[in-house]
């Protein structure tokens, strides 16, 4: 970590409980990113291990979303190295980057469902593009399986505009999971949802992780979601990681600013 301002930073890096071991799935070193004169990320270092869910906390505008967008090539860093599955993102050609993107799922804040397509077409779209040899029947069964996972089989022929916020998120998750990614990036998955629906989405994330053994990074402000899903948490303040640890550790942090997230 670049700026060890917190006592937890001096303790050895906490490995999550369970299966999170081995080579890191994501490895970021010295990541810097600016927009015009505004420096958003000022040298972020982090690693995510297989099967681990890393939750990123931070106030609005602290560069959390930019961080995960850099992981899939939606934004490019000014400085630093980003390795996903051992591949340096900035060195990849477009086709190589796309091959990597198939292994990574990204759930957007507003689900980003294609609003000119039905739920079925939204789910079929990635299959049509990436599983060309898959039979029509197999595609249909995969779609049904994914909708069953998120409990929305009945919504298959609805347009996204007819779905509630929570339903959209769940369909977005189903669409993302349909290509069986090895890594999930969640950008504020519970923002704008009521408490009960947020809880459902968080449970769904936990179930998904267990079922498919997916590593993930979750950007959130929702502490309930963080507590349910996090193996490890990092806190970003003004573009720098200022604290790292488990939920319980950070809850007892000596840094009042870090503790304020948990109160």
């Amino acid at each position: 970590m670049t700026d060890k301002t917190n006592d937890i930073m001096d303790t050895p890096r906490v490995l999550p409980a369970g299966e999170a071991t081995g080579e890191p799935v994501i490895s970021i070193h010295g990541l810097k990113k600016s927009f015009k004169d505004h420096e958003v990320l000022k040298g972020v270092d982090l690693e995510v291990y297989k099967g681990e869910n890393l939750v990123v906390l931070g106030k609005s505008g602290s560069g959390k979303s930019v961080l995960i967008k850099c992981l899939v090539g939606l934004e490019y860093p000014d400085e630093g190295e980003i390795k996903v599955f051992g591949q340096d993102i900035s060195q990849l050609k477009y086709d190589e980057l796309n091959a990597l993107r198939v292994r990574v799922g990204f759930l957007f804040q507003n689900a980003a469902l294609y609003d000119s397509m039905t739920v079925r077409e939204n789910l079929a779209f990635p299959l049509r593009k990436h599983k060309k040899t898959m039979s029509r029947e197999k595609k249909e069964s995969v779609i049904m399986e994914m909708l069953d996972n998120v409990g929305l089989v009945d919504s298959i022929d609805q347009m996204p505009s007819r779905l509630s916020g929570g339903q959209s998120k769940r369909i977005g998750l189903a669409r993302t999971l349909i290509l069986r990614p090895e890594l999930m990036l969640y950008d504020e998955p519970t923002t704008g949802l009521d408490t009960a629906t947020s809880h459902e989405i968080s449970e769904l994330m936990v179930r998904t992780k267990k079922k498919y053994n997916i590593s993930s990074i979750t950007i959130t402000h929702d502490m309930s979601c963080a507590r349910m899903t996090a193996d490890r948490i990092i806190v970003i303040k003004e573009g720098i990681v200022v604290a790292e640890g488990t939920y319980e550790e950070l809850e007892k942090s000596k840094d009042e600013w870090v503790r304020s997230f948990f109160n």
């Binding site: 939606l74 796309n98 993107r101 198939v102 980003a112």
Partner: protein, 268 residues
């Protein structure tokens, strides 16, 4: 501008502001050229999105048929009604079908079709892609390893390029029929006689360049509509701006291409 400035300072501020606008114009024009370059690079690359191309052709072509047909019919009628008194003064009523056919085929049909498509198709594309950009649907495609430029821009631009000539031919036919209907308000002329007279005045040089220029009209309408949508930034306001500027920029481009086409045709 502060009131206590001398004329030199005021002029300097004005020049700086104008220079900034000019820079922005050239910056936008440069970006559009790069965007067009990317289109030509992507259009030959597989996979070819036939399904989306046909769907867009349906939206651009079939869905615009009624509006373009009605407008062309009215334009043909107006042309015949307004020219009739002058032609009657010269005893040249029999020349009206020829005059209508040349006007409609050379200019009115292609330009009216293009302008309607700027408003109907260009604005739709600007708003659609702008909304997709703002709601991160384009980013979602990108991270799903689906090339959004290939899927969205290439298909839409190809659809407008292919459909505009067909719509213009339809507009020509209906426009001439509108002229025939208008002529029959005061005079009596059979449909066959009208069209024999109309086609007698048409030459290859009237038809061929007019059709060719509609391909260019279609190309710029699709390309500018998609470009403006693609340039939308965060916020719903930018969707409106994208739709509006798509119409303005593509209409301007249509007139510029029309002027160039007229000059080139004149040389032939």
């Amino acid at each position: 501008m502060p009131p206590n400035l001398n004329p030199y300072q005021k002029a300097r501020i004005t020049v700086t502001a104008r220079r900034s606008q000019l820079q922005q114009f050239f910056y936008g024009a440069g970006n559009l050229v790069v965007f067009a370059g990317r289109f030509f690079k992507e259009v030959v690359k597989p996979p070819y999105e036939w399904r989306e191309i046909f769907y867009q052709c349906y939206l651009v072509g079939y869905k615009s048929t009624f509006l373009i047909g009605l407008t062309a019919f009215i334009m043909g009628m107006v042309l015949a009604i307004q020219t009739r008194p002058s032609m009657a003064d010269f005893g040249a009523i029999s020349l009206i079908p020829g005059m209508i056919s040349v006007s409609v085929v050379r200019e009115i049909g292609p330009v009216i079709t293009a302008l309607i498509c700027c408003g109907k198709v260009g604005s739709r594309m600007g708003a659609e892609l702008g909304a997709m950009k703002v709601t991160e649907q384009i980013d979602a495609m990108e991270v799903s390893a689906i090339n959004p430029f290939h899927y969205l821009v290439v298909t839409r631009t190809l659809a407008t390029t292919l459909m505009l000539p067909l719509l213009a031919i339809l507009a020509d036919a209906i426009g001439m029929y509108g002229g025939f209907v208008a002529m029959n308000i005061h005079d009596t002329m059979t449909l066959r006689h009208f069209f024999v007279k109309a086609f007698a005045h048409l030459e290859f040089i009237d038809v061929f360049p007019a059709i060719i220029k509609t391909f260019f009209f279609g190309f710029v309408i699709g390309l500018i509509g998609c470009y403006k949508g693609y340039q939308a930034r965060r916020g719903t306001e930018s969707v409106g701006v994208a739709a509006n500027s798509a119409v303005v920029a593509s209409s301007l481009a249509v007139f510029i291409i029309d002027m160039l086409a007229a000059q080139i045709t004149d040389l032939l």
